[in-house]
């Protein structure tokens, strides 16, 4: 991917667990460790949604987490992109018939990038982040 004019800062991501099994979290953390090391490019996880450009959501959004997900989304400054990591956030996955789901994620907040897999590999997550970065640039460049 070639950085365009709109590329003006590094991408910071906030991760939110909306009731996942933890598999996707582990792969997200594995993706930022030395083997892959996206921090070279300024991509890192931050501790507050107010600092983030990218929201990584994992899990199928259980009842209790719905409002919190919306709140986290609203706290992020514009422009922002949302990436749904893992099959259970995309469709419910193995949890599809649970009585406690408010999801999938795109029923709660708008999703820009979907990364499939249960859990996706770190490479897939990084590819998703790159796709999200391209989208963010398009938004910043005035396109939609």
């Amino acid at each position: 991917m070639k950085p365009t004019k709109a590329f003006n800062r590094s991408l910071w991501a906030f991760h939110m667990n909306s009731g996942s099994c933890n598999g996707c979290e582990i792969e997200i953390v594995a993706a930022i460790t030395p083997r892959y090391d996206p921090e070279r490019f300024g991509i890192k996880l931050v501790g507050s949604p107010k600092h983030a450009d990218l929201l990584l959501v994992t899990g199928p959004v259980v009842g209790k987490m719905k409002d919190r997900l919306v709140r986290v989304y609203e706290q992020m400054p514009d422009p922002k992109v949302v990436m749904c990591v893992g099959t259970c956030g995309i469709s419910g996955g193995v949890f599809y018939d649970s009585y406690n789901l408010a999801g999938p994620v795109d029923q709660v907040v708008p999703v820009d990038v979907y990364v499939v897999g249960c859990p996706p590999r770190p490479e897939a997550i990084i590819h998703g982040v790159v796709t999200a970065l391209a989208k963010l640039e398009r938004i910043e460049g005035g396109e939609h």
Partner: protein, 410 residues
């Protein structure tokens, strides 16, 4: 929230439930007096997905993929415990080789889980280079797991009746390579963790859990062992291949000469268990008999056997965090009539209360992480002092912890 805003009354610090790292969100309420924690309470259950309810509507062969996803780190343990319960009800005899392969996988899971935990603990102390070191070496066990099972996480390899894939001779080499790397690395990791001055200062006598409390609160796994309780299902009630192997529970006094039940002892136990797991896998590879790996490879036949099964059973295995317990009752239908899971972290959560009482706010992250609930669930902290409210984020808490490390170093 109790508004005890009289002059000196403790103020309440709620933490959570959302947090950017690892496992389940948990909500904490700390009652503080200055920097010191007076009392603490917590509310788990924020990510309730109703897994057992869903399981009671699926058949055992489908359920194993659900049990994989109870917890992404304990993928083998839950499925293993569930499968053992169903096998007992249905009278399925797992072939010996299947048992050995299950044991090897369970031990690899323990290795990767303990390394993961060690990295998280280092991070909570502000020692990020150590986090990156442990996570880098952890990748090698992930590679082996991927080679053996086809997946890095949620392996999907354990099935009722055995396992779904054999370990072929060509794979022995990568397992051997991985084991010898770890055995070589372990002494380095032990030196880094146990001889580092700041880790020693932050963890010694922090978050102490006495043996009485550990027993009284029914803690399990490394948390209990670090307090000197000699429990390990692999030694006490051997299952799978553990009966043939030589296993004794790892207790801190074997290495340190004493047991204090603090965070430091929990690091000792987990690090030594990595070495122990390497030894167990070695023994398994040497002794593994040949033969089939599953009692019934045809899923349709397996399902027919399960459908006829009637009765109840429990399956217990020693997961990386302690005993993982599954109760299943089948009454001749496709789906189990009853299914109850008690995960190891569930048994350990209550031990947070005696550990945290009397400690400082900056010690919360490392103490909470020390029982390995896979989390630092400290996303938003609202400090309420009288009427005014200031909000701490997970970063603030982490910063407090790092500052404390710096302070005691200087």
């Amino acid at each position: 929230m109790s508004e005890k805003s009289a002059k000196k009354a403790p103020y309440i610090v709620p933490i959570g439930p959302t947090h950017p790292a690892l496992k389940e969100p948990v909500m904490f309420n700390f009652e503080m007096e200055g920097e010191v924690i007076k009392d603490v309470d917590f509310a788990p259950g924020q990510t309730h997905r109703g897994i057992e309810w869903m399981g009671m509507r699926r058949n055992p062969i489908q359920i194993v993929h659900l049990t994989d996803r109870i917890c992404g780190i304990c993928g083998v343990s839950h499925t293993f415990a569930f499968a053992r319960a169903v096998e007992q009800i249905a009278g399925i005899e797992v072939p010996e080789r299947g048992d050995y392969i299950r044991t090897i996988l369970a031990e690899f899971e323990r290795i990767q889980s303990h390394l993961l935990w060690a990295g998280v603990a280092a991070h909570e102390l502000g020692f990020d280079s150590l986090l990156h070191l442990t996570w880098r070496v952890r990748e090698q066990s992930m590679d082996v797991i991927e080679n053996l099972t086809g997946n890095r996480v949620n392996y999907g390899i354990v099935q009722v009746g055995g396992v779904r894939r054999d370990i072929v001779p060509e794979q022995h080499k990568i397992i051997e390579d991985c084991l010898s790397t770890y055995e070589g690395l372990l002494s380095k990791l032990v030196t880094l963790f146990l001889e580092d001055r700041s880790i020693h200062m932050r963890c010694r006598d922090t978050g102490v859990l006495s043996k009485e409390d550990a027993l009284g609160l029914c803690t399990v796994g490394p948390t209990a062992r670090a307090s000197g309780v000699n429990v390990d299902l692999r030694q006490d009630y051997p299952y799978a291949a553990y009966g043939d192997l030589d296993i004794t529970a790892i207790l801190p006094d074997q290495h340190m000469g004493e047991t204090r039940g603090d965070v430091y002892d929990r690091i000792v136990v987990r690090l030594l268990e990595v070495g122990q797991s390497c030894g167990i896998i070695r023994q398994c590879l040497d002794q593994m008999p040949s033969g089939p790996v599953t009692a019934e490879a045809k899923l349709a036949k397996l399902l027919a056997i399960c459908k006829k099964a009637q009765g109840e059973a429990i399956g217990r295995v020693e997961a990386p965090r302690g005993e993982c317990f599954h109760y299943v009752r089948m009454d001749g239908k496709e789906a189990p009539a009853n299914w109850k899971v008690k995960a190891s972290s569930y048994s350990n959560l209550m031990s947070w209360i005696p550990m945290l009482r009397g400690e400082q706010i900056a010690d919360i992250p490392i103490i909470v992480a020390s029982i390995d609930p896979c989390l630092s669930c400290t996303d938003r902290v609202a400090v309420i002092r009288g009427r005014s409210r200031s909000v701490l984020t997970k970063e603030d808490l982490h910063r407090l912890s790092v500052e404390k490390t710096r302070r005691i170093q200087s």
